[in-house]
């Protein structure tokens, strides 16, 4: 008999492996907190995974002003939260709300963005003070397929895919 704890830790292990070996994530760490229902992960994707549409507008504006021959502003990846789930699970809005309430928008060890930096380059605020709470839902199926979906806390307008 496996306990619930063992099962969720197996789930965490599958997601961690998948991120590390299939998606080349680095700096992966499990994260536990007494008010969290299970162990979450946080880590660094190989390239930036999420750019808020308003941030994109800021970046394009800044690139235009710089006008250095179409060379874009390099986009450094940032640490992201990952919530491992199994496809057979059923979560209520209350449970998702509890996860978001327990988390900071920025995972531990995220690079600090100072006020001066934000003033100098407004798009950086979306990595700092203006970053909304978001979690990468990693849904595992029995055949070990893992699908990744963003979940944002609150109303966040969609990206222009």
């Amino acid at each position: 008999m496996t306990t619930l704890n063992q099962r969720t830790s197996a789930l965490t292990a599958i997601v961690l492996n998948n991120l590390q070996h299939q998606h080349d994530w680095t700096a992966l760490h499990p994260h536990t907190q007494p008010n969290l229902p299970r162990t979450l992960l946080y880590g660094l994707p190989p390239k930036r995974l999420y750019v808020h549409p308003d941030e994109q507008v800021e970046i394009i504006r800044a690139e235009k002003e710089m006008g250095n021959g179409g060379a874009g502003i390099p986009q450094e990846a940032e640490l992201e939260w990952v919530l491992p789930l199994h496809l057979s699970e059923k979560w209520s809005p209350a449970q998702f709300a509890a996860v978001f309430d327990a988390l900071d928008a920025r995972p531990p060890r995220s690079r600090e963005i100072t006020k001066e930096e934000e003033e100098r380059s407004p798009w950086l605020a979306y990595k700092g003070s203006r970053r909304g709470k978001r979690v990468l839902l990693a849904t595992v199926q029995d055949d070990s397929t893992v699908t990744y979906y963003w979940m944002h806390d609150g109303l966040v307008k969609p990206r222009q895919n």
Binding site: L87, W91, S92, P93, G154, K157, P158
Partner: protein, 329 residues
């Protein structure tokens, strides 16, 4: 022949109405929040509850709802004999039950039990209470008959002219005979004769509407608030934040949520509303998220927080919303 003229009239009406919508409804990007305490500057919006559907028949009311309350409803009107299935239908506008309730709660209008009210008003007209209303109604009926007469005459005249032209082309002899009979002059005579006709000459009509019985400033037949469906906190919150919603089935959700008037914007979210402790299968979240991304939207779901004891009552709690989109990996 008559139905032909009516349908062409209808098409024309729809075209006018469409351009009218586009020019007048969209000049305001965001609707201004009308607070429930502000005194309305428009007559109360009459929402007719007919066979369980909430319908608005007055174009001015439709404009008020759209401009000031962020309600676009669904236009449902079409020709029964020639139904169209495109987006550009016409009056009446159908509202969802919660939209109707919102209008009532904001003090902008009322929901009327149309069948009951209709019978009551008719009965009153035959007693002394509704004497004035009776006169107004009869006047309105007469005006309708005059209008019908004008329409018939124009139609007749157009047909006559058409046949005359045909005959003129084919056989010159017949034309000569007609000229002798003063056919050219009679054309102008009938055109002027289209003016209001004496009572006896008016056609009999079966009135299909009875709105002349209603006082536009009144709230005849209003249903009490407590007999209207419960408001959904989720929808209320969206409306409060200035979002427009339309039925969401087209994009595979409960609502399609627009950042402003749907004439100007694409929907940002397809959304569903759940209970605070309702268990959502992960597969639903994944499929909806995937579907949303496929139509360049985000899947948004929300629920009203249910307080433990002594909390706010239903419909007034905090609404939490979450957005799901494909992560691209």
């Amino acid at each position: 022949m008559i139905s032909g003229s009516l349908s062409s009239f209808f098409v024309m009406y729809k075209t006018i109405q469409r351009s009218f919508f586009l020019t007048f409804f969209t000049d305001q990007c965001c609707f201004k929040m009308a607070t429930s305490t502000s005194t309305p500057t428009h007559p109360p919006v009459r929402i007719s509850l007919i066979a369980g559907r909430y319908l608005v028949f007055d174009i001015d009311a439709v404009m008020v709802l759209r401009r000031s309350f962020g309600l676009c409803g669904v236009l449902t009107g079409t020709m029964p004999q020639n139904p169209t299935q495109n987006l550009f239908l016409s009056m009446p506008q159908e509202l969802r039950a919660e939209e109707a309730r919102l209008v009532v709660d904001r003090g902008a209008g009322y929901v009327a039990d149309e069948a009951g009210d209709h019978l009551r008003l008719l009965k009153e007209m035959s007693s002394g209470v509704g004497e004035k209303r009776r006169e107004g109604y009869l006047r309105e009926l007469r005006e309708k008959r005059v209008a019908a007469k004008r329409l018939f005459d124009e139609e007749k005249e157009a047909v006559r002219r058409m046949h005359e032209g045909k005959r003129g082309k084919g056989k010159k002899k017949v034309q000569k005979v007609e000229e002798g009979g003063g056919g050219g002059d009679s054309l102008f005579e009938t055109a002027t004769a289209v003016q209001p006709a004496p009572e006896e000459a008016l056609p009999a009509i079966t009135p299909s509407t009875s709105n002349a019985m209603l006082d536009p400033a009144g709230t005849s037949g209003a249903i009490a608030d407590e007999n209207l469906p419960e408001p959904s906190a989720f929808y209320r919150e969206l409306n409060k934040r200035g979002y427009f919603t339309t039925p969401g089935l087209r994009f595979g959700g409960g609502y399609s949520v627009y950042p402003s008037d749907p004439f100007k914007f694409h929907a940002h979210y397809l959304s569903s509303c759940y209970g605070w402790d309702e268990k959502i299968p992960m597969l639903d979240i994944v499929t909806s998220g995937r579907l949303g991304t496929a139509v360049k939207k985000s899947f948004m779901f929300g629920a009203e927080r249910e307080e433990e004891e002594g909390g706010k009552k239903r419909g007034e709690g905090e609404v939490r919303m979450f957005c799901v989109e494909w992560a691209g990996m």
